[in-house]
Symmetry: C2
């Protein structure tokens, strides 16, 4: 491959696009890889296509090597299968829906669980046919409420999605492990840093689940790690519940006047004033937060969450456990509908399905039997003290809604957690029988009995991987591609106006091309060396070769884009040296 900058369809930009916030978005646009067409919808330019196709190639090679078989489903799909799985409704506004000319309901596929399930049902009928794993590399659609960060979260994007089909749980476990291994090999080859964390399966249903995250500041996902090796998406972190406490010596609950104490901060101050002998903190208070759930069927349900006053509700954790319901704040109209709720002084006295409000009341796992709390007395300006769980009230259950904080104990006891952010680039999980049940995918087992097939689902964001690689490998000068996915191996820059320089560069380009090295050759005559160097840093090909003034001494300059190391090379051996370097994957 020999691309010439003089004819390449490319304009590098000096300025960041106005709507770009994260580095990958800025750089991919400025360096001419992608261009925005509509919110969350991008066009790939020639350099971007080369990277995108390289990522696709790596993914396809690793899927094929693992024995998974490639198929391709339409993006435009009929409603019925998604109706059967309830996702036509559950997906809510994230689904692009449309009607065809005959008035039939159709959708643009967000993922294809239903279609794969039906296809296997269509072709297979015996345990002898299983296991089978199928995949596709396909354009998907989600009408994101907040498309952001360029191609990191778009509304049209390319995904590799695989599905495994097994006759039993042990088979699913093996298929899951094979996919996990294939993902490890894929991301290793793609050359970006990643961590594997436990995850929730969310709206997909199912049980065991892990995410592959590319650690970086601009990532949308927060994950935790412990010194002992625990790693999880923050939504999947479970809280370590302390043991129940004895409460024989706790005095009876008593209601106190606590005027102007509708916030935790003011409440702690008032408590310290009233009972100065204790060392009060927000952790002694029980905060009750009300939210409204919106179920996919359109119904609404209030929910009260009780948690220690020193922690905030983490909305993403809350939404994850309540999915597919959506969560909105409790508004004034909602409060008006529940007169038992006294804003700022809400307590377990009225919360819970059997109490005055009738509102379901779930508490943080730390709120165990025997713990005592200061909390709302359901009267304006009053709180109740020494209210003991299990003695004075019993919540309807627990919920993982409180924020996870650095220093929290890992659920497996492997030490204190630290928090970091990352980009989700892969997600593998054991779906189980949700879709096979809904769509009646059964096979005959060894005994001639119909059994429901168990499935795994494995996603890998292909366009997102391009952005994640850019995001995790760039530097202050520009993009910095790993060789496996770079648009070229060598960015050859000819500088100056000397015909001999261009002749030598032309010959080197031809020699490299003949040797199978992919060359991006800056053959522009009217462009200054400074602009050419800047472009080469911005574009991010791993090896930059400059043919310029030093040619008079018989040398060209070779620079490693990542390390910045420079080396002079006799022009006579340059082609061979560079070919060897590329072959060695350096």
């Amino acid at each position: 491959m020999l691309l010439r900058m003089s004819t390449l369809f490319l304009r590098t930009l000096r300025d960041d696009p106005a709507d770009a916030e994260v580095p990958s978005h800025k750089l991919l646009v400025r360096a001419g890889y992608v261009r925005r067409t509509a919110p969350g919808i991008y066009t790939w330019l020639p350099l971007g296509m080369l990277v995108l196709r390289a990522v696709e190639r790596v993914v396809r090679e690793e899927m094929d090597a693992a024995g998974f078989q490639e198929v391709h489903f339409p993006a435009l799909l009929p409603r019925e299968p998604y109706e059967a799985s309830n996702r036509w409704t559950e997906y809510g506004e994230n689904l692009f829906r449309l009607k065809d000319r005959r008035g039939n309901d159709m959708l643009l596929g967000p993922t294809h669980e239903e279609m794969f399930t039906l296809l296997v049902k269509d072709l297979y009928s015996s345990y002898k046919d299983l296991p089978v794993s199928l995949y596709q590399i396909q354009t998907k659609y989600r009408d994101e409420a907040r498309p952001r960060a360029g191609i990191l979260r778009g509304r049209e994007f390319v995904m590799k999605d695989s599905y495994s089909f097994d006759v039993d749980d042990a088979g699913l476990e093996r298929s899951y492990q094979r996919h996990r291994d294939a993902y490890v090999r894929t991301f290793d080859r793609l050359g970006l840093p990643y961590v594997i964390v436990s995850a929730m399966s969310g709206a997909m249903g199912g049980s065991k689940s892990e995410e592959f995250l590319a650690p970086c500041e601009s990532g949308e996902d927060t994950y935790v790690r412990s010194p002992g090796g625990y790693a999880a998406n923050v939504e999947a972190v479970t809280t370590v519940a302390p043991p129940a406490l004895p409460y024989d010596d706790v005095p009876a609950a008593h209601v106190e006047d606590t005027p102007d104490s509708a916030t935790i901060e003011t409440l702690v101050a008032v408590a310290a004033q009233r009972f100065p002998r204790r060392d009060w903190s927000a952790a002694d208070t029980l905060k009750n937060v009300l939210v409204m759930l919106h179920h996919p069927d359109g119904s609404r349900e209030p929910l009260a969450v009780g948690l220690p006053g020193d922690r905030e509700v983490d909305l993403k954790r809350l939404e994850a456990v309540l999915s597919p319901a959506e969560v909105t704040p409790f508004g004034d109209a909602d409060f008006a509908a529940y007169p038992a709720l006294v804003k700022g002084y809400i307590g377990p006295g009225v919360l819970g399905e059997r109490n005055a409000s009738g509102i379901r009341y779930l508490v943080d796992p730390r709120v165990v039997a025997g713990t005592r709390w200061v909390t709302g007395a359901d009267l304006a300006g009053k709180h109740v003290f020494d209210l003991v769980v299990g003695r004075d009230f019993v919540p309807d259950g627990t919920i993982e809604a409180a924020e996870v904080r650095p220093g929290d104990e890992a659920p497996d006891g492997s030490g204190p957690l630290e928090l970091a952010r990352g980009i989700e680039i892969g997600h593998i999980f054991q779906l189980g029988r949700k879709y096979a049940d809904a769509l009646e995918l059964k096979v005959l087992d060894e005994n001639g009995k119909q059994v429901v097939v168990t499935m795994g689902s494995y996603g890998l964001g292909v366009t997102r991987a391009v952005a994640a690689i850019a995001e995790t490998t760039h530097d202050e000068l520009g993009l910095c591609w790993p060789r496996e996915v770079a648009p070229a191996d060598v960015h050859l820059v000819a500088t100056g106006k000397d015909d001999a320089v261009f002749a030598a560069a032309e010959k080197l380009a031809a020699d490299l091309d003949a040797a199978g090295v992919r060359v991006l050759y800056d053959d522009r005559r009217a462009v200054s060396p400074g602009v050419k160097f800047k472009d080469s840093e911005l574009i991010g090909v791993p090896t930059i070769v400059v043919v310029g003034k030093r040619l008079a001494d018989g040398v060209v300059e070779v620079k490693d884009r990542r390390t910045g190391e420079r080396q002079d090379l006799p022009v006579a051996i340059a082609a061979q040296h560079l070919t060897d370097l590329v072959a060695a994957g350096e």
Copy 2:
């Protein structure tokens, strides 16, 4: 590549699918290449993916080799650019339209002229940037009224579309020729028969245009050929107008009673009865056909077409010249709205924009000045005889609406036409400035003056090519792929129950795989030789190798799928022989 039939996701079917009419559709479904998901929407199975990707690879290689640069546009597009070109309206019901969650109008791209135009406008501004040719291989959407023939005419399909951008007409001509050459190389490599015919550019606008057609009975397109080398899509055939005739000796027009002669046949009979000295035929009558045009803006317009009574109106030719208007028959309500029209006896006396009906009246080019006709007298039961064009009436213009018949003269005088049918697999045309004008794509020319860019548009149906290859290469036993696009090079069949046979086949498969030969290995133990042979014929890999009973004599059988030629080969040299055969492209 080594695929095993024992694990391949495949079920061959004995029966044709109920909805299949054309051979490629039947065979691609029966042999497990594609499967229907919804009307006109198909899923590609593993064997189909291999062929589809092979076709894509050939197309991409030839586009790249020609110096065209690959980009990729979204399929989901905003309305505005298509509004500017008027195609949002013009495309009518063929366009899939939808709204996103914010209520914005969007569409699924049927072709991308607008987007390419805007992209070049976005990046380029000088004649020095041109010429440039860009292409994409992309999924497209058209809500066909009559999806048919499996993947031959689907509603979701893959197309390669290219666009060229030039500063002047001479440049466009060169770009057009480069694309034409690239298409010739592409279709040569794809191994299917094709013809290149002149075409109309239809709804796309523009001037010069050619189609690549794969000749076959089931094709939707009719084309013509002359002995002298003229070839055209039937919609593009122009009628040779005879020279004007003198009419000094033609008697004055005279109205005659012609009771019960509302059809051409009855009219000819009545004329023969009234004037037995002439030898009357349908060619002496002027038939006037009324249709209603529906313009994209919703307006309706009646149109009268006059043509010799021995020819029918060809609706596809009529629609082609009237596009983007749609044509429907003239209904009873329409007749009621024009009382001057006497059904069965309509004539030039009331037709034409200046006559009683006010209906535009266009005639076949053969209806030249001086020709005399028997035609409707606009009175029930009466016709007018010796009505002379140019003397007794002047139509509003001519129209190419009459059927083309075998034996008609080629417009370039190269002899009588013969008709044949074909599948459109490529369409190249000189768009000109239609989109550049609408979207204001201009560059500065050498004199610093703004000039509108001129464009070419070049389509190649990738999924359709798969079907066209199947359609034009199959035989009565099944598919019969050219090697370049076949799912494998060798279909290796092991027969019987002898372990030695399977061991030898296994070794041969491994040796071929190691030599880079793509092998589909039928390693199924419980399947009869008859079924295996049938499957191999149906699947259509070019070389079939059987390891069976003859292994005892040290030979395997090699069969050419297309010719049926068989050859015994010593097993010891089989791998080398087959590798050579594949390398030679045989």
